[in-house]
Structure formats: C-alpha cells, structure tokens
Point group: D3
Chain length 135, copies 6
C-alpha cells in the first residue's frame, strides 16, 4: 500500500461544554497542524498516488472556511464540541466528498483506498481519523 501526506494548518477559537473539559470550557483557541494522508494500492500512469499540487490545494480549500474562525459560531457545529478528534472527522468527510466529486481527477477517487487526517494541537498531543475513500 502506498501513502502520500501533505501538511497545512489552521488557527481557530472555540470552547467546550462539559465538566470534563475543565478550563477548556472557556473560550480559547488552537493551531491545528493538519496532515492529510491519501492511500492507494497501485500508482497511476505518472508514477503517482495523486498530484501533490492538487492534493495540497484540496487540503487548503477544505481548511479555508475553518481558518481564522471562532468555531462556536459556525452553524454546522452547533451543539457539538469541536474537539481535535471531531475536527479530524469533519476534515476527512470534506476531503472525501471533494475527491468523490472529482477534485483529484476524473476517476473520482475510484483508485484510492483510504484517507487519514491527523491534527497536531501541540508538541505533546494530536488526534486523527481514518476511513475509506469509497464506502
């Protein structure tokens, strides 16, 4: 199995609801360093998993609406705790949707195996979600 990873980042504010979160119930923020890993069983005719430029641009486009935001005010996250692991899932789903729509080529992801999205929140903690490209 092959895998290609590209890295970008977002800077967001948010707060959490639930006693378990302690001081993180207050409005605070995070830099999330986002690693997007795309897996594929065989290389394409160019010797690639995917065009690294296209993959980098896809990640940027998925991250743009989240970047420089207070996630507490983003309507689709209403009633949710935007934890690191939750955001990893959200980014996975949005990247996957874009691939199925053809963002990485006309085969719409039929050659891809799976995705893994990892969010580094500090030098001592990170969280990820991985799942298939096609159900």
């Amino acid at each position: 199995m092959f895998a290609l990873t590209v890295r970008d980042h977002i800077m967001v504010a948010h707060s959490f609801r639930g006693e378990i979160f302690g001081p993180a119930q207050r409005l605070h923020g995070a830099t999330f360093v986002v690693d997007l890993e795309l897996r594929r069983a065989a290389l394409d005719a160019d010797g690639l998993i995917a065009d690294i430029g296209a993959l980098t641009q896809l990640l940027q486009e998925v991250l743009r609406p989240l970047n420089y935001r207070n996630l507490d005010e983003v309507p689709e996250f209403a009633g949710k705790n935007t934890t690191t692991e939750f955001l990893a899932l959200v980014i996975y789903e949005r990247v996957r949707q874009r691939i199925l729509e053809g963002a990485l080529g006309s085969d719409k992801g039929s050659g891809f195996h799976s995705l893994r999205v990892n969010l580094g929140e500090s030098h001592v903690a990170w969280a990820s979600y991985e799942g298939p490209v096609r159900a």
Copy 2:
C-alpha cells in the same frame, strides 16, 4: 477509526546481555520519548476518544516507576533485555491494565479498540508495540 496520542518521556539507565549488543552491553542510558496512542471506533457523548487530561495522567503514572531508574535493578525485568521494543510492550501492558481497571472511565475500556506505544530513543531510531485494549 479515531486515534488520540499524548507524549511524555523517561530517562533510564540499563545494559544489555548478548554479543549482538556490542558496546551497549556496557551500562549506558537513554531518554525515551513515549507516545501513547489510543484508538476508538466512535467518539463518546462529549465528542472525545478519551479525556486528554486523564490520558496524559495515566501515561505519567505508568512511566513514574520507570523514570530515573537503572532498569538493571528493577526486579520484574530480571533476566530480560530492556530493549526499546521490550519497554514499548511493558508500557502497553501497564496502560492496558489501568484502562481495564477503569482509569479512563467507568466503562473500563469497553469503547476502546487498541493502543500503540512508541518509544523514540534518538532522532534516528524508535520502536513501538500495538495491540488491543480488550483481548
């Protein structure tokens, strides 16, 4: 699959028995940067894999009896080479035991899938063990 990782470290002395170890047969030491990864198929009601504070504390508690020790003098390692990969297994087993005892909540780990413990021994070498939380 979701995964959450936290990082800590220990500083230990030890020596190895066996010609294959060359100069590492002498008493020497290591800093092990320890990454504990906990995997789970679905998030809990708070949107979490586990409370990151509780996971960090669990790792600290498991590492404390190993830290600032000469592992050659630790009774339970008698007759064993405390290699990086062996210590990854030891830490996995101790973390797993603590989870089964309820350290990460009253469900005693029933929601968790697996653990991975990675020990970085330098900028050019690391070793890990991964296995299930429940047998």
Copy 3:
C-alpha cells in the same frame, strides 16, 4: 556562554485590530509552543545554569494565567494586539520579574545573563524576544 531551554505551551483565542491582519481580524486562536531559554556565563556549584525543575515550574506559573483564555478579554492587554512577538515580550517580562523576586534562587538572578522566549505558532512561523535578566 551557557544556555538552558525548557518547553511548554498555551492555547488561546484572540483577534487583531488593523487592516494589515486580514482574516486574523476575526476572533480566532493559536497554540503557542513556548521555549524559555536562560543564559548564564558560568555554572553554579551544582554544575547547573538553573534547576530545570524550578525553571519548568516557573514557566508553567507564568503561562497559567494566559492559558485557555480569550486574550481580547484580559484587562492588561486592552488596546493591544496580542501578536506572537508581543506575547513573547510579555512572557519575557513576567519570567524576568519572577527571577528578580527569587523564583530561581536567593541570588535573585544575579548570576544570569539573559533570557530568550520563543513562541511557535505553527510549523512554519515563530517569534521571539530576548533581553537581559538584570537591566
């Protein structure tokens, strides 16, 4: 010249005023990985620049009132842009003050030369302030 550095981090929300900041004028956030470097011309009688445990604790204490905060609501920052470089200066000043009050020993910093505080805001950007311990 000797130098000792310890690392910790904070997670904050803030916004900036001024057109130059573009989308960062919106409420957003950051993880700042904070490196505190303490410089000294000669080692003390124990062979140390400073007790690393005491230096780590000092940094934690200085960071605690900033951590998990919306810096826009912190009274002493009113009317200021809490940029990465500005926060490096703030942390420098507070660490320096604590040293002068004796946090690292009864000599109240007379043996120390200078401090450098670096804040990593992402994998591609960081900012620092350095200055003397004694004026």
Copy 4:
C-alpha cells in the same frame, strides 16, 4: 505487533515527464529523509525485533547506490518517473530482497511481518510504501 524504525537520507537529482508535474519537469533535486520500519509479531531471544546496528547498515547499503546521483541516468529507472512514492517502493523491494538473502540473520526474514518505507521530501510532504517481508 512490534515495529522498529531507523532513519537515514539521500540527496538526488531527477526530473519528471508529464504535464501534471509543472515546473518539476525541469531537472531539480531532493533530500529524502528515509524511515525504514520493520514489523514483527514477537521479539527474538535477545528481546529484539532486529539488531538495530544491522538494520541501520542494511538501510545504508540499500541507499548508497542511489545517493548523490542523477536518477535520470540510472539505467533501471529508464522510462520511469522517480517520484517519492515510486522510490519508496524501490527501497522497500531492495530492503526486502536483502532480508530474504539473510542480511538480518540466518532465518532470512521468516520471523518478520512487514516493512514500511517512508520518504520525507520536505517539512510539508512525504510518501511511503508498505508491504510484507514474505509474499
């Protein structure tokens, strides 16, 4: 499952054929930081996945004929794009072959499970190939 990883690097020139590569169609180059991960279900009698010295030497020997080369002039790569992911496969195959020939011991790899080769091409991109040691 246990895993042991060692790190080395190569510095190569190459160019790519195909419009998708844009400016990378020109002769350029890369430092590839190569991580070789070897997996094994159980430790050997010494408490090891493999002798770390032997694994490091095996990686060096596999990398040597690639290092300080213009890959466009390497006969076995004629007609191929030597992309990061393609090179990960090449290094995997060569490491695997050496293990099957006995480079890590007389059991010729019968105890090993799988290999993963990761090539870091920059601080924001990397690619890997993983596969079995024995077919």
Copy 5:
C-alpha cells in the same frame, strides 16, 4: 530584540567542483528547508516585527527563481559551488535587497536590525548566514 521567522522550501539539483566534495562532485540534489528570521529592536504600531503574510510572500518570491532548478545552469552562480552556506548568503542578499526596495513597507527596512537565513539540508545538517538589514 524581537525576531520573527517564517519557513518555506526549495528543491534543486547541483554538483560541486573540488576533491573535498567526494561523491557530491556528481550531479545530485537537495531539498532546502529555508527559515528566514527578521530581527527588530521595537515593535511597530500594530504590535508587529513585520506583516507575517508579507514576509512569507517575500521569501516565496526570492525562492521562486531558485526552485525546481539545476543550479549548475544558473548564470549568476557560474564558477561557484552552490553549497548550503553559499545559498544562505545568496538568499540573505536577495531578501535584504527586497526589503531595502520597500517589500516590507515604505520605511524600506529602516526599522529592522538584521536577518538570518538558515537552510536545512537534511535531519542532521543545516547552514545559515546572518547579517544586517542596513549596512
């Protein structure tokens, strides 16, 4: 003294002349991870050393003509060994020239103290040049 650093990278081919270079006399290549550090004694009215977006863009523009190139064919490097340290100086000079021309604002660098350019060539080697912004 304040300092702000931004990171980018280039991927180049080159060869060296001189026996001291051994196998690096052959055409090979490198990824250089480039850190540009800008120092300033006092913050500007916005609380900044410089606009991080403008500094990032300035570095990109200086790196663009070097990226994806065979440096052996770049006319201005004829007769020179494009070593890591030499390239650090080249990038320093070009960044400095752009600052003096006003790339970071109408004051044309009068507020800046010095620059440091560091090029990481691998996980085990890097080189830098530092010098003043104004002579």
Copy 6:
C-alpha cells in the same frame, strides 16, 4: 556570519549529587542529541565553512569515548555532576582542541570564529555552550 551545524547523539548513564536533583540523584540515563555549530565570517575557497564530512567525523570522534558509558565511572568527571550544560562545555572544549590540532585543516582553526554545542535531552529540554575557537 556563517554557521554550519551537524547532528549526532550519545546514550549515557549517570547520577547527580545534591538534593536539588531530586530523583535524578539515582542512577539513570539520557540520550543526548548533540548539535555542533561552527561559525565563520567568510567562506573558504571551496565555498565552505568547513568540509561537512570532516565536521561530522570530528563530532563522532569526540562523542565516541562518551557513548554507551556510565559517566559516573569516567575518571575525568570524578567529583563533577555531568549535567547537560556541563557536557555541552566538555564537548565544546574537546571539539575546539581537535580543531586547534588541525582536524578541520592545516590552518588549525584560524579561519573559524566560534562554536556552539547543544545537547537535547528530551523533547522539552536542551542546553548549550558557546565560545570562541581561538582564545
């Protein structure tokens, strides 16, 4: 000013005397990732600060007698706490001596400005010593 840095590491055991060291008074150990930085005002005729191969070899030779040792039993450290900062000084002195003896060329260091030796003891702490090559 130019600077060239190379990285290597040692794995040692030691203990400290003095109540300030707490649990580190017990025999324990450390991996020290050692960065050797050599500074020079102008490049040599080859476009170099120093031959990177020679600098890497010099560092290896200086580290070899320390590696895989219990520093408590090294005669020249008798009565000393082999703290991270103390070891940075020791390595600086030994590298400097080797340069003055001609290890980096027949000019015996007359072209060099200064050295900085940094020892990383974990992902959250490091210490360094810097000083001139010629007194």
